[in-house]
Point group: C2
Chain length 190, copies 2
């Protein structure tokens, strides 16, 4: 299994020790900020929370998009890795387990909806990676007669992304709603 996204984005991490630490701190802070405030979180705030100067942020990530892409690519890579892990489970079980990870790792929830429609090269590569990783899980479930055939994997991802990005009273409600929607994915196969 290959991880093209990692190759496209990863090499920017600097070599010097302090610089690498700053780079990581920035990514962490950015992940949190994007999760909390969406894709237009304040860059100065991110630098502040990372404990570095604003100049350092701009040296590592010349544009907002560069930063966001890096955060996003990290999460996509993680998802690709998980897709391999669940390969041993039963078809439907494998799919839903992966989807649950999808909702967990996509911490940048609010921003993901926009990213799903972004046309840029990197995002396109990310989506393709994700489809390559998760798509087979869905097709396997379809072939096993567990998932309906009148939808595609992209439909499924949008559905889950939409539900995930919404505010719920609590996690239990989110899980309940997600499970119900997934029942719809399975319904006609029964």
């Amino acid at each position: 299994m290959t991880f093209p996204v990692g190759e496209i984005v990863a090499s920017r991490r600097p070599h010097r020790k302090d610089a690498a630490r700053n780079y990581d701190a920035l990514l962490d802070a950015a992940r949190e900020a994007f999760a909390a405030h969406g894709a237009d979180a304040s860059l100065e705030d991110i630098a502040r929370r990372a404990g570095v100067g604003i100049g350092t942020l701009y040296r590592n990530f010349p544009t907002r998009r560069d930063l966001f892409e890096s955060v996003y690519a990290d999460e996509v890579n993680e998802l690709c890795r998980v897709a391999g892990e669940v390969a041993g489970l039963e078809p439907w079980e494998a799919l839903t387990t992966w989807l649950r990870r999808f909702t967990d790792y996509m911490v940048t929830k609010r921003a993901v909806r926009e990213a799903l429609n972004d046309e840029s090269e990197i995002f396109q590569a990310c989506r393709e990676s994700m489809y390559a990783a998760g798509g087979p899980l869905f097709e396997r479930a379809q072939e096993a007669g567990e998932a309906r055939r009148d939808m595609d994997f992209i439909d499924l991802l949008r559905m889950v992304a939409g539900i995930t990005a919404t505010a719920f009273d609590d996690d239990a409600q989110r899980d309940r709603v997600l499970a119900i929607a997934l029942d719809g994915v399975r319904a006609t196969a029964r």
Copy 2:
């Protein structure tokens, strides 16, 4: 059937002819802006598009929240009205028709997710109105054995709001995904 929301908010519309026209233009522009840019659209931009000075906006709606509440309340009122219209249809048909209107009228889609969790008095009143209008449709579908009983109306609204607020490739995809999720709402009742 009563419409408490309308009573709470509506009386602010000014009496003088030009003033009333400005008020309406502001609401229209705001509806569009909130739909396009979410709840933190630029107020100066809204005033510009409405063709009035920024001062006029602030006189009518002293805070951003006042403006947003008014737009939101309008849409909720409209939804309440529609709930009455569909009362004659078959239970499941009535519910899904209303939900489709829900996705249409909620033009302020991006912002609705946040509003669904807002604690303020007005938003609470709006939600209650909406629950009062749509809830019976759902309960009727449940009693007819068409909708599953292990979820409540609020779960359903969140599900639909989440899917509606997400970006799709086209309307057909949105409808398809929504229909699949609604299959999940109906699944166990079959």
